[in-house]
């Protein structure tokens, strides 16, 4: 129990992931949804790093940091996504004078 294994990190990431999903589903604020996405990404990052630490397979030195490289890309993508999302939200706000995603239903069938 006190010995911290991969299972602890993975269960933690599941909890964070669930929190991200809940955030996505319950927030009407566009930025809230963005926050939910960040949570989900962090859950994924925790998984990658944890597996990199505990399940490395005994390969060469180069393969020791594969999980970390993926996490780096996740961070990069998160940053890019945040930038783009915020630009979109600004436009959205300029158009509708609101940040409520419920209002973004112009294209409904």
């Amino acid at each position: 129990m006190f010995e911290i294994g991969i299972m602890h990190f993975v269960v933690l990431s599941v909890v964070v992931f669930a929190a991200g999903i809940c955030t996505l589903l319950t927030k009407r604020n566009a930025i809230g949804i963005l926050i939910g996405i960040e949570l989900i990404m962090n859950a994924a990052g925790i998984n990658f790093v944890a597996y990199n630490r505990y399940v490395w397979g005994g390969g060469e030195a180069g393969s020791l940091i594969d999980g970390q490289i993926f996490t780096i890309f996740i961070i990069v993508l998160a940053a890019a996504e945040a930038a783009i999302a915020l630009a979109i939200f600004l436009n959205f706000y300029n158009t509708f004078s609101s940040i409520d995603v419920e209002r973004a239903d112009e294209m409904k069938g």
Partner: protein, 715 residues
């Protein structure tokens, strides 16, 4: 006869026939602006050309020795309508020229020319001046076509054309009610006769198989192109094959002859169908003058002359009786008429009765000769009456006339000459007279022998065949004298009318003078010509006209019984003139005598023929049409309405089916699509969170499905 002469005659007569047609077409095409004023002179000039053609061919014909031209026929025919199922193979179109044709061509073209000339003056100022001449030329063309036809079929075509153009001419002033009714009446009466013509034609066509060429029997010795069997030869062959003979002809031949003669009854206005001719007076006077002389009524007599050889003895009796009735009743009516043109019209009827009676009685040559002489003097009489009417400002009642001779000397002279001609005037107890003297006496002579011949069959009644025409000959003189006296002699009974009267222009006087001259000259000088022509054209029909009376009749022709010889015509003429010089004073007293007044009333009302036809024929027609109307209204309309109702009901059912079933199903489909679309639409509400929810829920379901599958079926 030299072939060149034959060719010349055929060509000239063809030209003479076609020239009026050409001028009619030119005048119809070049209407109003181009040749409105010139139409009269143009048409007259063309008719003059036509007359010259006919005259040249007449002279050429007379140049042939009489022995050669006796029974000579020139025939030029081209195949017209192929009828493969018959023996002849074709109906032929062409020209037949024999003595009768030559004589008729000259007479018709001359009279037509004079009528054209007369019309220039008479129709002057009419608003359809050009059209009148077009019709007149077409009318002449139709008559010439009948004269020149070489088959019954072709004749029928021109026959109908005559009917049409007479309709147009009688109804020329169609704005007025009278001409409208008159032209319709003439047309309908002629159609009734034509129905008989068609029946006779049909019988002959059926029996002879299309061999309907017309040259007189025995006349095929002339220039017949090819080996064409004529109608008469065909009939002869046919009935001899059947074992029939001259004295015992087959019934169909009698029927065919009477049928064809019905056409003549219509055209020549004989007894049952005579009522149209007096009404035709509603047309312009030149039309009356040509209808009553050369063209229309002559066509019927001409046809009877053409079919003369095929008339069986029974048919001859029929023809004679028809002529007899006509001449008697027409003379009686002429006696009491007060309208100058109507007197002349009934006079024409009476004279036509003479011709028909003559043909029936076997006085073939004199009947046709009378046709020619009568054409001249009757045409002249009508032209004179036209001049009088013109002078009297269209007053036609003779009671308003009187003393017009002082104002119209030329017209009076012409009228007198023609009155003498129709009276058959002659120098007492000699053989010299003017035209009517020869022709009418010949007919009466024929009827005398016919009456004698029929004495065995009909008993004393057979005497009527000669008694009636003899009496009517006296009546004729009397009523002509009456009309002459009432019009030209005595004191003016209408001073105003008298003061305004004036002589006709020269274009009207010249034809009158020429015709009056012809009326005199045909008799002593041309009679030899005409008579030789017509006698020569008389078919040698001994094979079929075998009855003794005919042979007897022919013998009578050569020794005339001049029944009017002597002072008879002078007495009647004087009586008429004296009685009527003071107007109607004496005559109205005579007409008031009981007994006579009854006859007078009957005659004055045309023996109630019109009323009779109105009541029975027209009434019957009305009754039938009423029954037909009732039938139409209640039965036909009822059925139609029923069908309509059924259609409506069916349409209602179909409509309901449409609305509720078809539209309903379509609407239901549309509604289903709409509602399902609405349902699915909710999933595309544009809600980001909804999409996320669906995304994750789907993921859960997929995992659930995979896990379930794995757990159920094993890993």
């Amino acid at each position: 006869m030299a072939p060149q002469q034959a060719e010349l005659i055929l060509t000239l007569l063809g030209m003479a026939t076609l020239l009026p047609l050409a001028s009619a077409f030119i005048m119809i095409i070049l209407t109003r602006r181009v040749m409105f004023k010139a139409a009269g002179w143009f048409a007259t000039a063309v008719m003059a050309g036509s007359f010259v053609c006919a005259l040249v061919s007449l002279v050429t014909w007379l140049g042939v020795p009489e022995a050669d031209r006796r029974g000579l026929s020139l025939l030029k025919s081209i195949p017209w309508i192929p009828i493969p199922s018959t023996e002849a193979g074709h109906l032929y179109l062409g020209i037949l020229v024999d003595n009768l044709t030559i004589a008729m061509m000259a007479m018709v073209t001359l009279i037509s020319l004079l009528v054209h000339l007369y019309s220039i003056g008479y129709m002057n100022g009419d608003k359809r001046y050009n059209r009148f001449f077009a019709y007149l030329s077409l009318f002449t063309f139709s008559m010439l076509g009948i004269v020149i036809s070489n088959s019954i079929m072709q004749m029928f075509v021109f026959w109908e054309l005559v009917g049409l153009t007479s309709y147009l001419l009688i109804g020329f002033w169609f704005e007025k009610r009278g001409p409208q009714l008159a032209c319709k009446k003439a047309f309908v009466m002629n159609r009734i006769g034509d129905a008989g013509f068609l029946i006779g034609f049909g019988i002959l066509f059926y029996q002879l198989g299309g061999k309907l060429l017309l040259p007189a029997a025995g006349g095929a010795s002339g220039m017949v192109e090819g080996q064409v069997v004529t109608m008469f030869d065909a009939i002869k062959t046919l009935i001899e094959q059947d074992g029939h003979s001259i004295t015992n002809p087959p019934l169909w031949l009698t029927a065919a002859g009477i049928g064809l003669f019905f056409g003549a009854i219509g055209k020549s206005a004989q007894f049952p169908l005579h009522t149209w001719l007096p009404d035709a007076m509603e047309g312009p006077t030149p039309v009356s003058s040509i209808v009553h002389s050369a063209t229309m009524v002559a066509a019927g007599v001409y046809l009877t002359g053409r079919i003369y050889p095929i008339l069986t003895p029974a048919a001859h009796v029929f023809v004679a009786v028809i002529g007899l009735i006509t001449l008697v009743i027409a003379a009686c009516m002429a006696l009491v008429m007060t309208d100058i043109k109507r007197v002349l019209a009934y006079s024409t009827l009476s004279q036509l009765g003479y011709m028909i009676l003559g043909l029936g009685a076997g006085a073939y040559a004199f009947a046709l000769f009378h046709l020619v002489t009568h054409a001249f003097f009757k045409c002249c009489l009508f032209q004179c009456s036209g001049s009088v009417i013109n002078a009297a400002h269209h007053e036609q009642d003779m009671r308003q006339y009187g003393g017009l001779g002082k104002k119209l000397p030329v017209t009076m002279a012409c009228y007198l000459v023609c009155t003498l001609a129709i009276a058959g005037a002659s120098i007492p107890w000699t053989e010299f007279g003017i035209s009517g003297f020869y022709s009418k006496d010949g007919i009466i002579a024929g009827t005398v022998s016919y009456g004698h011949a029929l004495h065995d069959t009909f008993g004393a009644a057979a005497n009527l065949f000669w008694l009636a025409p003899t009496v009517v000959a006296y009546i004729t003189v009397f009523y002509m004298a009456r009309s002459f006296a009432l019009t030209f002699l005595g004191k003016p009974r209408n001073q105003k009318l008298f003061d305004h009267a004036h002589e006709a222009p020269w274009t009207m006087c010249v034809p009158q003078i020429v015709l009056a001259a012809m009326a005199i000259l045909t008799a002593p000088f041309l009679m030899g010509f005409w008579q030789s022509l017509i006698v020569a054209s008389e078919p040698q029909v001994a094979w079929i006209q075998g009855a003794d009376h005919l042979a007897h009749g022919h013998a009578m022709h050569t020794t005339h019984v001049y029944l009017l010889n002597g002072l008879a015509w002078i007495i009647m003429l004087a009586a008429g003139i004296i009685l009527y010089i003071p107007g109607m004073k004496f005559s109205s007293k005579i007409a008031a005598i009981p007994g006579i007044n009854l006859l007078y009333t009957w005659a004055y009302n045309k023996f109630y023929f019109d009323a009779l036809y109105d009541t029975f024929v027209v009434g019957l027609g009305k009754l039938i049409s009423m029954i037909a109307a009732v039938f139409d209204k209640y039965i036909v309309d009822g059925i139609v309405n029923l069908v309509g109702l059924l259609g409506k009901a069916a349409a209602f059912l179909i409509g309901a089916f449409d609305i509720h079933l078809i539209d309903g199903s379509v609407n239901a489909a549309a509604a289903a699509a709409h509602s399902s679309g609405g349902l699915l639409r909710a999933t595309h509400a544009g809600r980001v969170r909804g999409y996320v929810l669906i995304f994750f829920a789907s993921a859960v379901l997929v995992v659930l499905a995979v896990v379930t599958t794995v757990m159920v079926f094993g890993a």
